[in-house]
């Protein structure tokens, strides 16, 4: 009986993966980069779904793990000659893991809103440190570096193009998805979900809830750091803006928009959010130019901030679609 849904899942998985592999051939340069960016933010959102969706802890501090992953990668790329891709991953993940361990130790002592606020404030601590420690982190301007080549030392080395970088990001995301999916279905993942459902009872059964929570935060932070490394490689810079808590807030938005507790949902949410933002940022200048052609001058329309309608859409989703796009679609399909 249970074979059929998993069979269907793998068919769907392969279909979506195949579609994503061939998608860049149909897209111009800009949209290839854009798609890669969606996948990176999707990875970040997916990493925080481990906490939000599976353990029931809303983290408002994922920007710390993401940003520190970026700076870790920057450290590797700036100090080693020639810049090594794998070293960037190693450094980025090490830094993110260390930060995640630190944050996890303190923040998991608290629950619900308190956890959210604590993670937020921790991410701000790292933001202030990075922002003011100009000699090491470049301060407000951040760090720029060159992109490493994809290769294995002594065997081969080929520089990234937009296309190969996209595939590389896709490969990392797919691997992370499969790992996280396996983890959420493992006994460990089951315990996390039971913490979400009833923490007191999980404790009463005899599970060390605190330890599970710490591991969950560290796991989540590690994958967020991975996303940070990818982002650094894609954009060739690390900046304090990415440690700022607004990035964490957007991560939560991706989760809510896509649907929490699904792993894929946050990726869908990131895609929907970024596409909507891109579309809206073009809509208002376009509307202004159309209006101008008809002789109507609307001052301020071209500069109208596209984040306002985006924010309103988000508020409406929190109120009316708490299960996100994926949950909404699922209910609609089941009807």
């Amino acid at each position: 009986m249970t074979r059929r849904p998993t069979f269907l899942f793998w068919i769907g998985f392969c279909a979506v993966l195949a579609l994503l592999i061939v998608a860049p051939f149909a897209l111009p340069e800009f949209w290839r980069r854009f798609l890669a960016e969606i996948l990176i933010w999707g990875l970040l959102a997916m990493s925080s779904d481990i906490l939000i969706g599976y353990t029931g802890m809303v983290s408002f501090g994922h920007s710390a793990f993401f940003g520190l992953g970026m700076y870790g990668a920057a450290a590797a790329l700036l100090t080693t000659r020639p810049p090594s891709l794998w070293l960037a991953f190693l450094y980025g993940l090490l830094v993110a893991a260390a930060v995640a361990a630190f944050v996890a130790y303190f923040s998991t002592r608290l629950r619900d809103i308190y956890f959210a606020i604590t993670t937020l404030i921790f991410s701000q601590i790292f933001y202030v440190i990075i922002f003011t420690w100009t000699e090491v982190t470049g301060g407000e301007n951040g760090l720029t570096f060159s992109r490493p080549a994809l290769g294995i030392p002594g065997l081969f080395s080929l520089p990234f193009t937009t296309l190969t970088l996209y595939w590389f990001v896709l490969a990392v995301l797919t691997a992370s998805y499969l790992v996280l999916r396996r983890i959420t279905q493992s006994p460990f993942g089951m315990v996390l979900q039971s913490i979400r459902e009833n923490e007191a009872r999980t404790r009463a059964i005899g599970y060390p809830v605190e330890r599970y929570k710490i591991v969950a935060v560290m796991l989540s932070g590690l994958f967020a750091g991975l996303a940070g490394v990818l982002y650094a490689i894609q954009n060739r810079f690390a900046a304090p803006d990415f440690v700022f808590f607004v990035v964490s807030g957007e991560t939560v938005i991706y989760n809510i928009m896509g649907g929490i507790g699904t792993l894929v949902g946050p990726i869908v949410g990131a895609g929907a959010f970024l596409l909507l933002r891109e579309g809206l940022s073009r809509l208002f200048p376009y509307l202004a130019s159309v209006a101008a052609q008809h002789g109507i001058v609307l001052p301020g329309l071209a500069e109208f901030p596209h984040l306002i309608p985006l924010g309103l859409v988000f508020i409406a989703m929190v109120i009316f679609m708490p299960q996100g796009l994926l949950g909404f679609a699922r209910r609609w399909l089941n009807k």
């Binding site: 809303v58 408002f60 303190f106 002592r109 608290l110 619900d112 809103i113 308190y114 959210a116 606020i117 604590t118 937020l120 404030i121 921790f122 701000q124 601590i125 202030v128 440190i129 922002f131 003011t132 808590f245 807030g249 939560v252 938005i253 809510i256 301020g300 500069e303 109208f304 901030p305 984040l307 306002i308 985006l310 924010g311 309103l312 988000f314 508020i315 929190v318 109120i319 708490p322």
Partner: protein, 289 residues
Amino acid sequence: MTLLEQILIQTINGIVVGMILALVASGLTLIFGIMDVVNFAHGELFMLGAYVGVITLAGTGSFWLALIVATLMIAALGAAIHVTTLRPLLGRDPLNTILATFGVSLVLQNYALWQFGPVARKIQEPITGQFTLFYLDYPWYRVMIALLSAAIIGGLWLFLKFSTYGVWIRATTQDRLMAQAMGIPVPRVLTIVFAIGSGMAAASGVLFGPLVGVNHAMGLDWVLKAFIVVVVGGMGNLVGSIAAAIFVSLMEAYASLWVSPSQAIIVSFVVLILTLLIRPTGLFVPTPK
């Protein structure tokens, strides 16, 4: 100037900033303690209040009128925000309110950037006199801010203690369901609490405007500091937040004797971490039984 004199000046500075922070944080903690709403948009209400103050001041020339108009307008805005976005979330997980108010803050901040531009505005202080404190001219206005903040918080306390709505608000805090059964219009009480909190944020924005200048991002710093204060003081505890606000501001003021002010904020982060380690329920509240 000797170290002792510097410390004394920083003490006064710390208390002044602490009183403003207490005003911001008491609005936040009022909203949290009574409504279980974590108001992420609080900093934006602070910022919009300062902007309304700037505009009214430019139009009328009266600082006091600006203070009152800003408070009332932002209180009305707060009531509108509550009715449209938070009332539908009543009875759901409090985490939903963080998300909704995060959306609100996104909208308000971008609106301010669009409407008022990125250039900081200045509010002229109503009292320009100074007095001499150890060879240093200290503005009277700063002292006035501290006194006025204390007066507003005192007014809030009297309101909660003696007015009909104050009694209703306290009853709602204790037991929302029972309060409703007794005929207290709970949804309206909650809206009014949110409006009061918003108005307090706006008032502190206007009061603080002359010291730093008004821009669209000024709320971010404050909302973070206010959150620290609210956690250190014990969530939803009015007296605790006031004590914590002054304590944290004093610590930061002393730290800025040795490091730059932008790094001094780390001190308040450290206070927070220590609080969470030693007394997660808050430094300035009695140990819960």
